[in-house]
């Protein structure tokens, strides 16, 4: 499974992005997007913003779960109180034909299963904690890009821990 994580500000402006792969089931934490499709990630994530704006008024939850799908790409969303969106694109690696029966029951093959939903929720919750710490900095203004290497390392650690 490959992941592309982006934080989008209140003006639909990207604030932070990070690409990583799964560390579960013997994964090495490296994203394996097909080279021809990699540049599409940003488009897919941004095109799901319209859906976020519809879903966000339907309930007060911060975690909106999986909101959009584009072929083999699934987009999960978490929205903060300050209207900043965390978007996670997850693309399950294509299961090999030989072991389809086994792969279809494993977590990686079913991106909307409750286990994966819960894992993404935990990932978002941890990023949210670090996000609140970021905005608590008196020098941080709304919609500023996040450049802190500490924040990046924390996001990477959360990705490694849960996804």
């Amino acid at each position: 499974m490959s992941y592309y994580f982006a934080i989008i500000g209140t003006q639909d402006n990207p604030i932070f992005e990070y690409e990583f792969g799964t560390s579960k089931q013997g994964g090495d934490g490296i994203a394996r997007f097909p080279e021809q499709a990699r540049h599409m990630n940003q488009f897919i994530v941004h095109s799901s913003l319209d859906i976020v704006e519809e879903v966000q008024w339907g309930g007060g939850q911060m975690y909106l779960k999986c909101i959009d799908r584009f072929y083999n790409n699934y987009v999960s969303c978490f929205i903060t109180g300050g209207n900043v969106k965390f978007l996670l694109l997850h693309a399950p690696s294509q299961p090999a034909v030989a072991n389809t029966t086994r792969a279809s029951t494993s977590i990686a093959a079913n991106p909307t299963s409750p286990q994966i939903e819960e894992a993404i929720k935990q990932f978002f919750t941890e990023v949210y904690e670090n996000w609140v710490k970021t905005i608590m900095s008196p020098f941080y203004q709304v919609n500023m890009e996040v450049k802190s290497p500490v924040f990046r390392a924390r996001v990477a650690a959360a990705g490694k821990k849960y996804l």
């Binding site: 007060g60 939850q61 300050g82 710490k133």
Partner: protein, 225 residues
């Protein structure tokens, strides 16, 4: 790089090379950044009111230095408070227990968040009243009253400036919370004490929250729950 003047001194070169290894970032000597500090506050970590009053007095006089009138001064105080509101919104939501950790979806939920959770955090007590404007022409106006605003406790306003209410700073915080939550609003502070002898609350302040048209329109579309 090319646009910057080249410093010939050795010291300049040394700092230049240091900077390239850690671009523009220096860590505190104990290695602890803002990310290493917990977000939850314990009860004992309250601030001294004396130091706040001193700081706030300085903030008011700083804002007063380059202003043209009372409205301009209140605007500046409002602007000082606005980013605090944006930040407090997420901080206070984060501190809520997970079950009630919900984004406010309608005006009432938002104002209740402000008058209870925000007020308690800032002033250790809830606001004294929350009312909707009774005027049918202004359904977008709400009023939050505070009988004795903490920020005004040590502020004495001269007679010729009796229009001024320094709680405009708090109005800015409230405005920041509203804007951040997706309810753009204009918040102003007004003194309602008449200055009479023996008045119960001479410093009573009303925060007038005027939401923008689109917020009221959206409110009509959303299901009531």
């Amino acid at each position: 790089m090319a646009s910057q003047p080249i410093k010939p001194s050795l010291a300049g070169n040394a700092s230049q090379s240091q900077r390239t290894s850690q671009p523009g970032l220096r860590y505190p000597s104990n290695g602890k950044t803002i990310y290493h500090r917990p977000l939850n506050r314990s009860r004992t970590q309250e601030l001294s009111q004396a130091s706040f009053a001193y700081l706030f007095g300085e903030m008011v006089s700083y804002a007063q230095k380059r202003v043209t009138g009372i409205q301009d001064l209140e605007k500046r105080l409002n602007v000082q408070g606005h980013p605090i509101g944006l930040k407090l919104l997420d901080l206070l939501l984060y501190r809520e227990p997970p079950r009630t950790q919900n984004r406010p979806l309608n005006i009432i939920a938002l104002l209740q968040f402000i008058t209870t959770i925000l007020w308690r955090h800032l002033f250790s007590r809830p606001a004294d009243a929350l009312e909707k404007s009774s005027n049918p022409d202004t359904p977008d106006e709400y009023m939050i009253s505070d009988n004795d605003p903490l920020v005004n406790q040590y502020i004495s306003v001269p007679k010729e400036m009796n229009q001024l209410n320094c709680a405009a700073f708090v109005a800015g915080i409230v405005e920041g919370v509203c804007d951040g939550a997706g309810f753009p609003a204009r918040v102003t502070a007004h003194s309602v004490g008449k200055g009479e002898e023996g008045e119960l609350w001479p410093g009573k302040t009303v925060f007038l929250v005027k939401f923008q048209q689109e917020v009221v329109e959206r409110e009509a579309y959303l299901p009531k729950n």
